[in-house]
Assembly symmetry: C2
Homo-oligomer: 767 residues x 2
């Protein structure tokens, strides 16, 4: 497959040709979402070629039976599966009774655009059917940001070389399955299927979880732009409802259908009010009309871009890529609903059970904090706060006690969704990321109150877990953490993973210091939490003892912390000596060979260096980078961004740029030949970090906002905005300097390359 099939464009994702082999990939890349729902860029008309059909509704999942070779105690019985939802985009088209299907007809011209600036998807094509009829089609659709239960499609068709009967048959299909299902079973039960006043509705519910969803559509028509009324024939089966409209067209006339559709679901409405709400949604949509809804859409996306946009001059592919990343993040999560989170594939595919990984805390929170109001990041934190009880249950199941909490590796509702012992039970560093997220949030937003009100309970649960998860090694005369998997999943069940141990130590220390601070600042909240958690002096003292004496493996020879106790027993051979034919190693090597090798999937010790940069001198950072990066194969989408940031930190701007390229166009150029399964949503936040924290050098340590801007020689300039504690600051870096523009009405103090600057309200400073 051509891995370079997206046309460069600063604001749009475009293909200008039709290639069947590219269809599944473009379905992912051109996906639409509005935070509440999303859909792959499946075609409206029938398509008999290879395709992954996908429509998704935020928060709706199914607890599927886990498949496992050998059961281990502690595994969850079920995992939450992101469900394919009823399809409302479908419009069957017949030309003189022949079905339109791009898989079987001749394509004379094709153009598809995902307009990121305005938030819509369009396809136009000219095609000749086997009966000789040539037609022109334009299909445009969007999922409204303003009315997030509503989507709209305008599908226009013109005969180019004939007069004939055109049939348009918009439908809703609830007879959908997941590709990733054990036995091709249906996960939806149809409760009602009906039509009222030319509105078709299907009321369905998910098996087991009982989410109720009403999916509904209403349709309007224009002929050559003039509204006309067509009388439909209703065709309803057990799982699908369809209106069939026919119209005779003369050559070059244009018939357009405007299909309004809605998902209304029981997380947001009473179950018995769903159909009524769906009808009123469609009434509202029709009343506003397609063009006005689209105008709102442009307006709402403009508001998002106002803060979130990053502008890169001199490199249109880099420009396109960063906007694609920002666009997809916003399509996936908008932060208004604390029950939702950022799935690794967002609304672009169904792969991976569950929606939430440690990616959220480690990679996504910085993006949302800097480009949106603080309540958005707070909602991400509250998501975990609301799952605390389930995290305590999870830890209890694994043998921990007394309120220790272990957050799941993968989750939808707080319950663990993953079943590999080396991950589920051992990749416990995720638990530290939850607390780091709190630290990061408070540090960035200044919303310290979050801790006494919510965060502290989480911190105590996690600190207790770390305390209990250590044991005292007589051999080392220190506390150790045995049997873990670090961020580098290419080592399993290792002892004393530096990142995990350091994080454990830090989590306990941060919790203890916080408790100390709260004694004066929030005494009554502290009392409430201590009493609720029954945390006493003795346990606090034991925790302190552990944190003070935790073992951190270190090599005096290399002057680096070691990824794990036995790392230096490995044969250390840099990746440059790895034959190309054997990469990615996860496709060519057996698992044991990968485990024995020195090759690192993603930042591990360096993830710690990144998160706790202030604990390392620049020289130490350089030593760690030079030791570990040459051993890193970057086979996780989350790897290059961290390396880009650290490379920039040690002023290796070329290396940073190389790493940036690997992260920013991962999906657009389909590096791993897998984008057909969906986009890598969470790593897109890492791409954003690579620019802002990497090239921009932005940090928010110690209640201060600082920068150390650098620019790759390949670019003329770049500019980004951040919302820091209510002030929006624009940073515009060129080769000749950097301009900081304070867009807010209050003065803003920043530190640039170590010097303190104050920027007046609405003022700017050039450095």
């Amino acid at each position: 497959m051509n891995q370079n099939f997206i046309l460069p464009n600063p604001w749009s994702i475009i293909v200008d040709h039709f290639n069947k082999a590219e269809v599944p990939a473009t379905e992912s890349l051109f996906s639409l979402g509005n935070g509440a729902m999303g859909q792959r860029a499946n075609f409206e008309e029938k398509y008999s070629g290879e395709s992954l059909q996908g429509s998704y509704i935020g928060g709706i999942y199914y607890p599927d039976k886990t498949r496992v070779g050998w059961w281990k105690n502690g595994y969850p019985e079920y995992f939450a599966k992101v469900l394919n939802a009823p399809n409302w985009i479908g419009i069957g088209i017949k030309i003189n009774n022949q079905i339109l299907d791009l898989n079987t007809c001749k394509i004379d011209a094709y153009y598809q655009e995902l307009n990121m600036k305005e938030g819509w998807l369009m396809r136009t094509f000219m095609a000749t059917l086997s009966n000789g009829s040539q037609i022109q089609v334009e299909a445009k659709r969007f999922l409204s940001l303003k009315f997030n239960e509503i989507g709209a499609i305008k599908y226009s068709l013109s005969p180019l070389n004939f007069d004939g009967i055109i049939e348009m048959a918009p439908y809703i299909d609830a007879g959908i399955v997941n590709k990733d299902a054990n036995y091709d079973e249906y996960f939806w039960e149809i409760l009602d299927i009906k039509s009222e006043n030319n509105i078709a509705l299907i009321l369905s519910k998910t098996l087991k979880t009982n989410f109720h969803v009403c999916t509904a559509m209403a349709n309007e028509f224009t002929l050559n732009g003039q509204a006309i009324t067509l009388k439909p024939k209703l065709a309803s089966k057990t799982k699908k409802i369809k209106f069939i409209y026919k119209q005779k067209l003369e050559k070059n006339q244009t018939l357009s259908i405007i299909k309004y559709a809605t998902y209304v679901q029981s997380m947001n409405h009473q179950s018995d009010a769903l159909c009524q709400t769906a009808i009123s949604n469609l009434d509202k949509a029709r009343k506003i009309g397609f063009e006005a809804l689209l105008a709102y859409q442009k307006q709402d996306w403009a508001a998002i871009w106002e803060t979130a946009d990053i502008k890169i001059e001199g490199d249109v592919k880099a420009q396109q890529a960063i906007r694609f990343n920002i666009f997809q993040l916003n399509q996936t999560y908008l932060g208004e609903d604390a029950r939702l989170n950022i799935g690794p594939k967002g609304f672009t595919g169904e792969k991976y059970g569950g929606s939430t990984y440690w990616d959220t805390e480690a990679y996504c929170i910085p993006f949302y904090m800097a480009t949106k109001d603080k309540h958005v990041a707070k909602n991400l934190l509250l998501y975990r706060y609301n799952h605390l009880e389930k995290a305590i249950e999870n830890a209890t199941k694994l043998g921990f006690s007394n309120g220790a909490a272990l957050y799941p590796m993968v989750t939808m509702n707080g319950e663990e969704c993953h079943n590999e012992w080396e991950i589920t039970f051992e990749e416990i560093h995720r638990n530290g990321a939850i607390v780091y997220g709190i630290y990061n949030y408070v540090n960035y937003t200044g919303d310290f109150e979050y801790i006494p009100k919510f965060g502290l309970e989480v911190m105590i649960g996690v600190a207790r877990f770390w305390h209990q998860r250590t044991n005292f090694s007589k051999e080392k005369n220190q506390y150790v953490i045995l049997g873990v998997t670090g961020p580098n999943e290419y080592e399993n069940n290792v002892n004393n993973n530096f990142y995990t141990n350091y994080l454990a130590k830090w989590c306990i220390n941060f919790t203890l210091e916080t408790i100390e601070n709260l004694k004066s600042s929030y005494p009554s909240d502290l009392d409430r939490v201590l009493s609720k958690t029954q945390l006493n002096q003795e346990e606090l003292a034991q925790m302190l003892e552990v944190a003070q004496n935790i073992y951190l493996p270190y090599s005096k020879d290399y002057e680096v912390f070691l990824q794990q106790d036995a790392f230096l027993d490995k044969e250390i051979v840099p990746t440059e000596f790895l034959p190309k034919s054997q990469r990615p190693i996860n496709q060519y090597w057996s698992w044991d060979r990968i485990l024995r090798s020195c090759y690192i999937k993603q930042a591990d010790v360096l993830q710690g260096v990144y998160l706790f940069e202030n604990a390392f001198s620049k020289d130490q950072i350089r030593k760690h980078f030079d030791f570990y990066e040459p051993l890193t194969v970057h086979e996780s989408s989350l790897s290059p961004c961290i390396h880009a940031i650290l490379a920039a930190k040690i002023n290796r701007i070329d290396k940073a740029y190389e790493m940036y390229l690997r992260t920013s166009r991962l999906d657009l150029d389909d590096y791993n030949h897998e984008v057909a399964e969906g986009c890598h949503i969470t790593s897109m936040a890492g791409t954003w970090m690579a620019i802002v924290q990497g090239f921009g050098g932005m940090r928010t340590h110690n209640n201060a906002l600082s920068f150390n801007p650098q620019i790759p020689k390949q670019w003329e300039s770049y500019a980004f905005n951040i919302n820091y504690r209510g002030c929006v600051l624009r940073v515009h870096k060129t080769h000749s300097g950097c301009v900081f523009t304070n867009k807010s009405t209050q003065a803003l103090k920043i530190i640039v390359d170590g010097s303190i600057l104050v920027i007046e309200p609405k003022g700017l400073v050039k450095v």
Copy 2:
């Protein structure tokens, strides 16, 4: 469930009551086998209660699709499943048209016996049906040792309180499934189903593997012991064929059916001759007759017991247990067919895919060497020799090269059947057991020629694997073996497991020494093998370098070799402090907790001390035993026997006895509440070793046969025979001494407690 429901008896396994809850367990315990086929003790008549139906044919398997949560490179696509085979034991019984079913009628008396001395199974019972009819039944059956394709049942029924119509409907049912199947699918295809001259036949074949099997039956009747002829009605469905016989009986008359059955299969016959062979088998059986076949059976079992029996006086449960173990081993494998092996459940259940584990080499070979002619053990060795190419393929798939061989963890046909990375890829010590088996065989039998003819190729393949599997650690300045699972499967992916490293070193050294020796003794065979394997001086030198410099983790503090590098980082708490409520830990603890703990599933370092006893002083053995045994939970059936042998070695006879009890009645007393799934066949050989090598202290080092007999105070005496290099020696130990009787016609030199004795032909020596 009553765990003590088997009546003590020196030669039989007996229950004298009927308890539905015990049915699945007794089905396992009373299983029959003749090395070529076997069956669980399912009832002949219908039984609607809980039951695991099982008939098995040696060597017949199905390559089922593996089920796995997350795929890892290197996993086999398929695993060999022991297939449930067509059922020929069934005889439907109706009494005045009411079905006889022990699950629904009242049992007035019940007795079931597995006669191990003579090799048959019998049930008698009195039962009252819901229509008030009381009947007496006696059912006896056996699988002929002499004609190992033939089995016979005599099923006799008498009305006790009525006259009425008795219907007997013997059938063959090929519509059988495996309990352990992914989707309840059928693995057999029916090719033909027919009757000829009152013989019913089903010709079937296994899907994918295309094993063809003809299952056939012929039936005879007696009334009050007098042969009668009954005319059957044939009832044939697509997968089942049945003859229905009816006879009016008066009160206290006895109708008996004698059902002869046969499996004839394509591993042993041409596929197109199967049905004809089946018919002639049944003709032969009918001609010989039930009682004469049974007489052969007694005679053949007597011949087995002649050498294999162990007699224990003063402890009937111990006596019963050891005979049960010896009986089941002989039912499972008789050593005449090098394509067969010793499945972990034998013919008593379907659990575990494949038939062959390292158990064969590490636990079973000593039993077969000592109780049978040497060609039996040789066949077990040839089984591996014949799989060498597949073992090389397996290693190649995992990234090894140049003829390195890795034998599978579990196999039927030489291909790996297991899919857990920590086992499949990492429990590589199994590879050493294959070579140890060769060493052990040659040492015991004196058949040194086996090595140049066959063994050396295997040894070279394995030595190459070990050579390639090490890497040089700069840190340790020695060769290390990273990422393994030792015999203790409660630690995974550890580094430098002592047992594995020692075995690797030993395998290479043994191979190199052997090559050196063969230069003078078998030069042409050596040339042939060196040329075939292309083993050159450079590779030999590299192997030697590795073997001489392999790292063996050792604690100076404890003066023991360490189970793995990080063992002393664990919290070391003896099992006596483990609450009973948490045992077995594999049922109560999460997997990560088990892995982090110091608890050992089965002998690991001690397995090495056992195999290589001569490399350790008695004091060292004691130190290792005292360090490791208190940490061992013995949650593998293979654990207690090794500990019993070592405890005896260091003269802890009480401890040895405690361990012996744990191994010998494991199944009879259903320690682990799992015997319903089948018996632990391979560990039964360990039980035998616990007496002969443990209490008897038998060793065969350096071409010498030695003993160090001890006796537990609970026993009056014990006696066993061994066949050593063609001489049968009886060892009879009492509290007052030990008598060695040379049953052969040549003088035999033995070492007893360090002193050399020579026993004259047919003579005896008392010590």
